[in-house]
């Protein structure tokens, strides 16, 4: 890939609403990404390997659990900072952001919110530095959009429980040290359990053949009579609402992240449109190309405003799940449309690894699917505004 010349775009001067510290966090993350990730990401995606050597650096820039309080090893930042960090990561690659989202919102968040004091002390500080990595097991082979139908289950066995079942499509699974797994107890109630690598009967085979999120590792979680100490069960909350609250946090980060991918595509296409000469003039001078660019920055600006406001609502504890669904759905779709238009603007060069657009486009196909598909988020909005359930 070429030198990463990315510059942010802030058409409505939203930077004026950020604090000095937000900007410092953003600039540091951007510099780190340009120095450490941009030079290697295209190669990692092409070879389909997760660049594990980046984990300590991700910890250093605060990408793991930015809102986790200092007493548990986190920096205790606000939700807008979390969003900013996710945006800077996804600006480079959605897979990189996925690794950080999972660690933050799907592993650290449930332990912080629903874990015992011992669990918080044992896991959170190491997860914050990246010394320990986690994954989140909700989806099953037969239960994707309908996680409540899960069949993974555990039975009582004195101080332990015996866990059986399988999870699929699990980000970070192949290398994770721990898995936050959602399973039903004998009464059919969903509980969160921390399963640790090395427990007998627990394996994490890698899933191969992805054409999307190739620089992120995805795998299965297989539980064959795994004996897990009862002290590894998250005591604070049960029922489907527990994993869904984690998804709220992750989806919120994705809403910010998707803008990053869109910005990178727009930035690349804008620069290309000024440099590429056809018919003796830069292609940016043709109305058809200007239409694409003008619509891109309009959609990006709308998404930025929506998402900044969502950040304020989340910081004041007022954001609802349907509000988060709306932002996730809108922004990922917006990013996909921009990626497709930007790719066309680069002509043949747009399909190569010289530029990041094709990679973003392929990555976003996962992002529009995971954490609730595009359709499912629409149904959430539909339910919210009509009060009528169209899921079943």
């Amino acid at each position: 890939m070429r030198t990463d010349l990315y510059q942010g775009h802030d058409y409505y001067m939203l930077d004026d609403l950020l604090t000095e510290e937000h900007k410092l966090i953003r600039d540091a993350a951007r510099e780190w990404v340009k120095k450490e990730v941009s030079p290697i990401i295209e190669d990692a995606a092409e070879k389909c390997v997760f660049p594990r050597h980046l984990l300590p650096g991700l910890g250093e820039i605060g990408a793991f659990g930015p809102y986790i309080p200092a007493e548990y090893g986190g920096p205790g930042l606000d939700q807008i900072s979390y969003g900013i960090l996710m945006q800077e990561l996804e600006r480079c690659d959605s897979g990189l952001r996925s690794t950080a989202s999972v660690q933050s919102s799907l592993v650290m968040y449930p332990i912080w919110r629903y874990g015992s004091e011992e669990q918080k002390q044992a896991f959170l500080p190491k997860l914050a530095t990246g010394e320990m990595m986690g994954c989140f097991g909700l989806t099953e082979p037969d239960h994707g959009s309908n996680p409540g139908g899960m069949t993974t289950n555990f039975k009582d066995d004195g101080d332990h429980v015996i866990l059986n079942g399988a999870k699929m499509w699990i980000s970070n699974a192949p290398f994770a040290d721990i898995a936050v797994v959602w399973a039903k107890n004998e009464a059919g109630r969903i509980k969160g359990i921390i399963v640790e690598r090395g427990m007998e009967g627990f394996s994490t085979p890698t899933m191969h053949g992805k054409w999307s999120l190739r620089a992120s590792d995805t795998g299965e979680l297989i539980f064959d009579n795994v004996r897990v100490p009862k002290s590894n069960i998250l005591p604070g909350r049960d029922g489907l609402g527990a994993p869904l609250s984690c998804l709220d946090s992750a989806r919120y980060g994705i809403a910010w992240g998707a803008i990053g991918a869109a910005l990178d595509c727009y930035d690349t296409a804008l620069r290309y449109s000024q440099e590429r000469i056809q018919f003796d003039r830069p292609i940016g001078q043709f109305q058809l190309q200007q239409k694409k660019l003008a619509e891109m920055i309009t959609e990006i600006t709308k998404a930025q405003l929506l998402t900044f406001r969502l950040g304020q609502l989340r910081d004041s504890g007022k954001a609802t799940s349907p509000q988060i669904s709306m932002a996730k759905r809108n922004n990922v779709d917006m990013a996909l449309t921009i990626a497709r238009d930007a790719r066309q603007m680069l002509g043949g060069m747009g399909i190569t690894g010289e530029y990041p657009i094709m990679r973003h486009m392929m990555n976003l196909e996962s992002v529009v699917t995971y954490e609730g598909t595009h359709d499912i988020h629409l149904l959430i909005t539909g339910l919210d505004v009509t009060g009528l359930n169209a899921f079943v």
């Binding site: 510059q7 000095e20 410092l24 540091a28 250093e60």
Partner: protein, 245 residues
């Protein structure tokens, strides 16, 4: 060891350069400021490395108004211990050097580290002026700095090679590329910068010079392609049109 690093802000290298007020002032609207790279990447980072090795403190000093605070916070996030800002709008090198020297005089610093120049005005004279005003030694364009006790060894760029210079503390240096490598502030640094002291000092100041006019360099002309097997045409163009030879 007490180290003082002089930090200035400078427009980001991608800034659009324009002037206002009858071309006598830089138009800062919409301009993003960064820490002047020579101050940050070389002087500040080397000072922090020396502190990590030998102990001591790193203080930053900036002459500038409140708009400089973000770059000062960044310097603190990278690892300086505390900061001083002299609350005066910088207008010329003599004025800035005098304000720096006034602050540094009573500080008992072993080394005062500056960048070799700022990337906006490129004056490159403040560090030498500070040394003169404090009546201490000065090494310019230093690419390497080591300290043992009160004795420092520096390397500096010289025509066609480099010089190795020994000097007794206290002294002033101006840092060039090579003295250290850029450090990106980590989250721990950013968090601790929140509570590090930033003292704002007021001072009287006068300038010896005033800007009469800024002008932009002439627009770059169109690129002329000369056929590879017609070197005589290239020579002719260089001689007659570009008047370069």
């Amino acid at each position: 060891m007490k180290l003082l690093v002089c930090i200035s802000q400078a427009p980001d290298t991608t800034s659009r350069i324009a002037f206002t007020n009858g071309n006598t002032e830089f138009d800062s609207s919409g301009v993003q400021y960064i820490v002047n790279p020579y101050d940050e990447w070389y002087a500040l980072v080397r000072a922090i490395e020396l502190k990590e090795k030998h102990g001591g403190t790193v203080t930053t000093l900036t002459v500038g108004e409140a708009g400089c605070d973000p770059v000062i916070r960044k310097a603190l996030a990278i690892g300086a211990d505390d900061a001083i800002r002299v609350d005066v709008k910088p207008t010329d090198a003599m004025q800035v050097a005098r304000l720096i020297a006034d602050q540094a005089r009573s500080g008992g610093y072993d080394i005062i580290l500056c960048g070799k120049e700022t990337i906006d005005h490129n004056g490159a004279v403040v560090p030498a002026m500070v040394a003169e005003m404090l009546d201490c030694g000065f090494v310019s364009n230093a690419t390497h700095l080591d300290v043992a006790g009160s004795q420092a060894t520096l390397k500096r760029e010289a025509a066609g090679g480099e010089e190795v210079v020994g000097i007794e503390c206290p002294f002033v240096l101006s840092a060039a590329k090579g003295m250290a490598e850029q450090r990106i502030p980590n989250m721990r640094g950013i968090m601790s910068a929140r509570t590090k002291p930033l003292a704002v000092e007021s001072a009287e100041s006068t300038s010896a010079t005033a800007i009469s006019q800024f002008t932009l360099p002439p627009e770059k002309g169109a690129c002329k392609m000369v056929d590879a097997d017609r070197p005589e045409e290239l020579i002719r163009l260089l001689r007659e049109e570009a008047k370069a030879i």
